[in-house]
């Protein structure tokens, strides 16, 4: 038997695994190249979009009577759970189409959409979108609800040069405020810095001398939480006593949490997402550590919080949409109508079982609602007019948003929709988050609350 023969393949395999892990953990950093400094804060609010360099004519009107939207998002493997967002918006567009379509400048249009699976892989997203939009931008009117920060960053140059709108990008990255990319707009998901701000505000009021431990992912997502939080506690008696990072994609963080627990912190910012989030909570419980805990808004999900179980009890977070899991909304007319619409139009979706308590279906539905409102407010059926419309959304509401929440944008100065929110707290025995406290309103403040280099990433 020749053992050395195996050493080569093994080494190759090991190197491949290492590369895989380092690639995935560094996915977001690749955006550094694309930023070009980007310090040109173009102050003009109205028509802030420069169309001189567009490769297509963004003032051309839609031919025919359909608006073609395209999207790319994960539809298989573990990340396939994100496909439920599209179930929500597809159901709403179906409903609008059946009721006569959307009216822009006096003419009715049907909304047509096409999507592809990218398994959350940013490279796949890029090739999907290039194929769906076409090299000359002629195959689609706009891109809608692409999931993932790195995924949207990977298509923003291509779409920006063509001047094709990339709307309702489904992550809370603060990079959607980058003025170099006026054709990209985020969704109602709150920018991540606001989470840090909200937790800081909560501590200022309830635990003014809090010692805070933070667990964050080792990328721009984690950096936004950490830097945002440090900025939010400037000038207070709150102190960050420990920060641990974990590689993106890891689902086991017990050592990191053991180290944080040993810091004697009495507040814990759990910035972990996906499986690392419930693992951090159960590890916290195993350590017998009982700090005031914030969980990333990306962790507000039935699947994840069930894994945390009792370890998640009392955890704080925030949201701006009604939670279908919350029995308080069981008889809410908007909630009932939402569930009926989804059941009517999209009981079947990509072969996935329908779970109407899954909050991200509702999230997708609301994005479609707001988009349709913005389309109807557009002055003309052109890309530029639609883009200007979504950039000047003035206090739109949705019956599926929490009372008092509204959505507003204002050109490059405020491209963020989700800036009014309410804190929620997890009740493990009941199995859902419940709203607490008053409505928090940071309308128009995200850019000033976020370190500039993160926005221009």
């Amino acid at each position: 038997m020749n053992r050395s023969r195996w050493r080569g393949p093994l080494a190759l395999f090991a190197v491949a695994m290492l590369l895989m892990s380092s690639c995935s953990s560094r996915g977001d950093d690749s955006s550094d190249d694309g930023g070009d400094g980007g310090d040109g804060g173009n102050g003009d609010v109205e028509s802030s979009i420069d169309i001189d360099d567009c490769e297509t004519d963004p003032t051309a009107e839609i031919e025919g009577d359909t608006i073609k939207l395209v999207s790319s998002y994960p539809q298989s493997e573990l990340v396939g759970a994100f496909a439920e967002i599209a179930r929500g918006w597809a159901a709403y567009f179906d409903k609008v189409n059946e009721e006569g379509g959307v009216e822009i400048a006096g003419k009715s249009y049907q909304i047509e959409f096409e999507d592809k699976d990218d398994v959350y892989n940013p490279q796949q997203t890029a090739s999907n979108i290039e194929e769906l939009v076409g090299a000359d931008g002629s195959n689609a009117f706009a891109v809608f609800s692409v999931v993932g920060t790195a995924n949207n960053i990977n298509v923003r140059d291509f779409l920006g040069e063509l001047c094709v709108p990339n709307l309702f990008a489904a992550t809370g990255s603060v990079a959607w405020g980058n003025p170099d990319y006026p054709w990209l707009l985020g969704s109602t998901l709150a920018p991540y810095t606001l989470e840090a701000q909200a937790f800081a505000d909560y501590l200022k009021e309830n635990q003014p001398e809090a010692k805070v431990a933070m667990l964050v992912q080792n990328d721009e997502f984690g950096a936004t939480y950490e830097q945002g939080f440090r900025q939010a506690i400037e000038g207070t008696d709150i102190e960050v006593v420990a920060v641990e990072e974990y590689p993106s994609g890891a689902d086991e963080v017990s050592t990191q949490v053991a180290s944080l627990a040993a810091s004697d912190a009495d507040a814990f910012f759990n910035g972990a997402t996906l499986l690392a989030c419930p693992d951090a909570l159960t590890s916290k419980q195993d350590e017998g550590w009982e700090p005031t805990t914030w969980v990333s808004a990306t962790c507000i999900s039935k699947t994840l919080m069930i894994l945390a179980g009792a370890a998640g009890d009392g955890a704080l977070s925030f949201t701006n949409l009604k939670d279908p899991l919350n029995p308080a909304y069981a008889d809410d007319p908007a909630m009932v109508a939402f569930k009926e619409t989804v059941e009517q139009y999209r009981t079947d979706f990509k072969g996935r079982a329908l779970d109407l308590e899954n909050a991200i279906i509702l999230y997708g539905y609301v994005q479609a609602e707001i988009f349709v409102q913005a389309l109807e407010a557009a002055e003309a059926p052109t890309r530029l007019a639609v883009m200007e419309s979504v950039h000047n959304i003035d206090g739109f509401t949705s019956d599926l948003a929490i009372d008092g929440v509204s959505f507003t944008t204002s050109g490059g100065d405020d491209p963020f929709l989700g800036e009014s929110l309410r804190l929620v707290q997890y009740d493990a025995a009941a199995g859902h988050f419940s709203e607490i406290g008053e409505l928090q309103d940071w309308e128009g403040e995200t850019l000033s609350l976020t370190p500039e280099d993160l926005v221009n990433a």
Partner: protein, 307 residues
């Protein structure tokens, strides 16, 4: 000091899992001279199988036992149907490598297709405390040392590993089957000449490895609280590291290697901030070091060929 003990305990818990999977790798390597790249995904399939039984009312302990049994049959079938045809004498090792890479991808995909693409709550086969809103409960406390408490999770994982080692020792050293397995591992040609059914032994080797993998996969899922498609990918890398460190043909080496790798991992995350989030570097640096000094691993046998 307390924190140091916590890191060591976390390391021991993970180490037990790495060691168990490394044992599975070693068993196949000893009998066939092959490193089974698909070992982790086979274990994932078995872990999902255990979970599936529990969703049909089977208690978790019994579910794992069923899963081990079925996995052993599956392992034997894989050897006969997929591996045997490409390992005939004179065929390149690369053929098997490619078959195994195929299995690596296919078994993961099949697991998702048959069972679930989501993270599913995995009950614990050891004492746990349950509370409202908690489908699987938390590991109960086993005992306290000073300010540090040892949970049942670490205890059960370590005990499982000890039991597994004992079982393998008795099987390999005290039974006829074990003797035959060792004979095939040591010298296939001579073993065949003295009447040992070598092809049956190869199947037994794969069956044992698959069974051990099933146990490791189910235990790690129970420890993490859930089974999900990515569960074993990283575990397999650490198991490879453990086996390389200990020597690919040494069960003792696999266990020692697993513990060293896991404790090094945990201490690195805990104490070396500069390597935080790239802690995988540490086990590989260790391997490099050991292979430089002892090319056969810490406990590996040197093969001397007479010419």
């Amino acid at each position: 000091m307390d924190l140091f003990i916590r890191y060591i305990l976390i390391g021991i818990g993970n180490g037990a899992v790495y060691a168990a999977l490394a044992l599975a790798l070693v068993l196949i390597y000893r009998t066939t001279g092959l490193l089974n790249l698909a070992q982790g995904e086979m274990a994932l399939f078995s872990a999902y199988l255990s979970w599936w039984f529990t969703t049909h009312g089977v208690p978790i302990g019994l579910a794992i036992a069923f899963s081990i049994l079925l996995s052993m049959i599956g392992g034997a079938v894989i050897e006969r149907v997929l591996i045997r045809p490409v390992t005939a004498p004179g065929k390149s090792h690369l053929n098997v490598l490619i078959v195994m890479l195929g299995m690596f991808l296919a078994i993961n995909a099949i697991s998702q297709l048959l069972f679930s693409t989501d993270a599913e709550p995995m009950p614990k086969p050891w004492p746990s405390v349950s509370s409202p809103g908690d489908p699987v409960g938390r590991s109960a406390r086993l005992l306290d040392i000073g300010n540090t408490s040892i949970s049942w999770a670490v205890g059960a994982l370590a005990l499982t590993l000890i039991g597994l080692c004992l079982f393998l020792y008795l099987l390999l050293q005290k039974t006829k089957l074990g003797l035959a397995l060792r004979a095939v591992a040591s010298n296939p040609a001579s073993a065949r000449m003295v009447g040992i059914n070598t092809s049956a032994m190869l199947m037994v080797g794969w069956a044992l490895a698959a069974g051990i993998g099933a146990l490791a996969g189910s235990m790690v899922a129970a420890d993490r609280g859930s089974v999900s498609p990515g569960l074993m990918t990283v575990v397999l890398v650490y198991a490879f590291a453990a086996a390389a460190l200990g020597g690919f043909d040494s069960p003792v080496g696999a266990v020692v290697g697993g513990m060293i790798v896991a404790i090094a991992e945990s201490l690195t995350i805990g104490y070396v901030d500069a390597l935080s989030t790239i802690e995988l570097v540490v086990p590989f640096a260790l391997i490099l070091l050991v292979l430089l000094v002892r090319p056969t691993g810490l406990f590996g046998r040197r093969v001397v060929e007479r010419v």
